[in-house]
């Protein structure tokens, strides 16, 4: 409903709600940006820390492991995005264009998403202990790839079903192989779907805590587990913890700024973490 009159009342209501919803982040920023003196004096005391010492500490100056957690999260998330795309794009092509399985396989993929990640906790722990992969970046790429592939398969299948088949048929008549058609015709047209899959997979993998907490101990720890441990082990370094958390939420937020259209479309279509 868009009446032409601007509604300043709605503006005020939404502004207050947006403030409340973002209070945790605002609180963390507030603590990260004020001096230790101010933090020690009271919860609402403000004194700007012009040296950004908390951010410097979080980024390595104080000797925390946080920088390596951050690198792990980046490696795990980008690795998962690559794995998921490599597996699900050809899979979707096989289902939609080459008649592999048919619609029931997509319904199966949706159905699998009902199974919560916690169901895989015990089997994954036992499997990957035997495989000797515990506490590696690889194991988190594998398990996050596993939980995110169904969603990617659905997004790619829907996008492929909307592409006109004519060009591929023409290329096929001219003697292009399946892989040539995929590489030269289909992939360039699937740009938006690839961004959607990339952004959603990145977001869900970056957010993973459950798998990381059982499958890593020190070497491959991502920021989610690192920050949660940080708050218990360095209990009183509030400014540093706040700065570390603010830095940890930044990458998905930056993605959200640059790819909001894709994120919103995907989330609105019911994309949720497995």
């Amino acid at each position: 409903m868009n009446s032409s009159k601007k509604s300043w009342l709605a503006f005020a209501v939404i502004l207050v709600i947006a403030f409340l919803l973002n209070l945790p982040l605002i609180g963390a920023l507030f603590n990260a940006l004020r001096t230790d003196n101010a933090i020690a004096s009271g919860a609402l005391v403000w004194e700007f820390d012009s040296g950004f010492s908390h951010f410097q500490n979080a980024m390595g100056a104080a000797g925390y492991d946080f920088p390596s957690f951050f690198v792990n999260s980046v490696l795990i998330s980008l690795g998962t995005v690559s794995l998921v795309t490599l597996v699900s794009l050809p899979a979707a092509y096989a289902v939609v264009r080459l008649g592999f399985g048919g619609p029931w396989i997509l319904r199966l993929a949706v159905g699998l998403r009902v199974i919560p990640a916690i169901f895989f906790l015990v089997p994954f722990y036992i499997m990957f202990s035997f495989a000797g992969l515990i506490d590696t970046v690889w194991v988190l790429i594998l398990v996050n790839g596993f939980t995110n592939t169904t969603l990617a398969l659905l997004i790619f299948s829907n996008a492929l079903a909307e592409l006109p088949i004519d060009m591929e048929e023409a290329a096929s008549v001219d003697g292009a192989s399946v892989f040539q058609r995929l590489r030269l015709i289909v992939i360039p047209l699937l740009g938006p779907a690839m961004v959607a899959v990339g952004v959603l997979t990145f977001l869900f993998t970056w957010s993973d805590y459950l798998f990381a907490v059982i499958l890593t101990s020190s070497e491959a720890t991502p920021v989610t587990v690192g920050a949660a441990n940080f708050v218990t082990s360095y209990g009183v370094r509030w400014g540093d913890i706040s700065a570390a958390v603010v830095l940890s939420v930044l990458p998905p937020l930056l993605f959200a700024v640059f790819a909001q259209r894709f994120l919103v479309k995907g989330l609105a279509a019911g994309a949720v973490k497995g």
Binding site: I17, L21, L44, F130, A161, A228, V245
Partner: protein, 252 residues
């Protein structure tokens, strides 16, 4: 089965022993009860608040683009990182929330057994009202303006229009929101585990926390696996519904 199975992998069939042990464990039933109660109450509140926020947004709001982005921020934040920020926010020495209550001379202990359930619901809403809002707001864009105009010409009041026209049109979105939030609510692990660890006692132990603790604190992998299977069996009846609703909505 115990953690020893990793060094000494002998396969010995346990029959239904693990299931028998599970169903006779009162902690398991308590965790099922807590999880259902949490999921149902959180879903209901998020349904109403998300819908209300979408209606407020669906006007000519100045700066809508920026407000929209601001409201969606909590969705992009990892629940576990959100939990760490909640701990900072609610901390008795540096938290803004206790300090705010302190300004009015109020001493609140948010983590006390009486308050903890409401606190967890409020915190869940902070992160997921933006999500229910997003689903409702996207569907509201499909309601043609002419419908509102026709209704108002016919003398229908705003709330009558919402009740008789908008809600029936949004029925599919309502079903999707309830389904997704309920299933997600059942899975809840990160935030509650980081904030309370399932406590005080076992009063906020979700099925997820029960499974995690049974496997990794008690080393009872067999019973944890049995609990995982029971959890999936509880969710299984929703599968056809999810397939029907989600495979159509994802195609739009």
């Amino acid at each position: 089965m115990s953690r020893d199975l990793l060094s000494d992998p002998v396969v010995e069939l346990a029959g239904l022993d693990n299931y028998v042990a599970l169903v006779s464990d009162p902690d398991f039933w308590e965790s099922i009860g807590f999880t259902l109660k949490f999921a149902i109450i959180a879903t209901s509140i998020q349904l109403v608040l998300g819908f209300a926020l979408a209606l407020v947004f669906d006007r000519n709001v100045p700066g809508k683009k920026y407000l929209f982005s601001a409201v969606l921020i909590p969705i992009m934040i990892a629940p576990s990182l959100m939990a760490v920020m909640y701990r900072l926010l609610l901390n008795e020495s540096i938290g803004v929330v206790p300090a705010f209550f302190g300004l009015f001379g109020l001493q609140v202990s948010l983590f006390s057994p009486d308050a903890i359930f409401s606190l967890l619901i409020v915190l869940d809403c902070i992160q997921f009202v933006p999500f229910t809002f997003l689903l409702f707001y996207s569907s509201l864009q499909n309601v043609p303006d002419e419908l509102y105009e026709a209704a108002s010409i016919d003398g229908s009041s705003y709330f009558e229009t919402i009740r008789r026209i908008v809600i029936p049109i949004l029925k599919p979105a309502i079903v999707v929101v309830v389904l997704l939030r309920f299933l997600e609510g059942i899975r809840n692990f990160d935030v509650i585990y980081i904030l309370t660890g399932g406590g005080p006692g076992t009063s906020t132990q979700t099925v997820g926390i029960f499974i995690y603790k049974t496997a990794f604190a008690q080393g009872n992998f067999g019973m944890a696996a049995a609990a995982s299977v029971v959890l999936v069996l509880l969710l299984a009846p929703f599968t056809p519904w999810v397939i029907k609703r989600l495979s159509t909505s994802e195609q739009q």
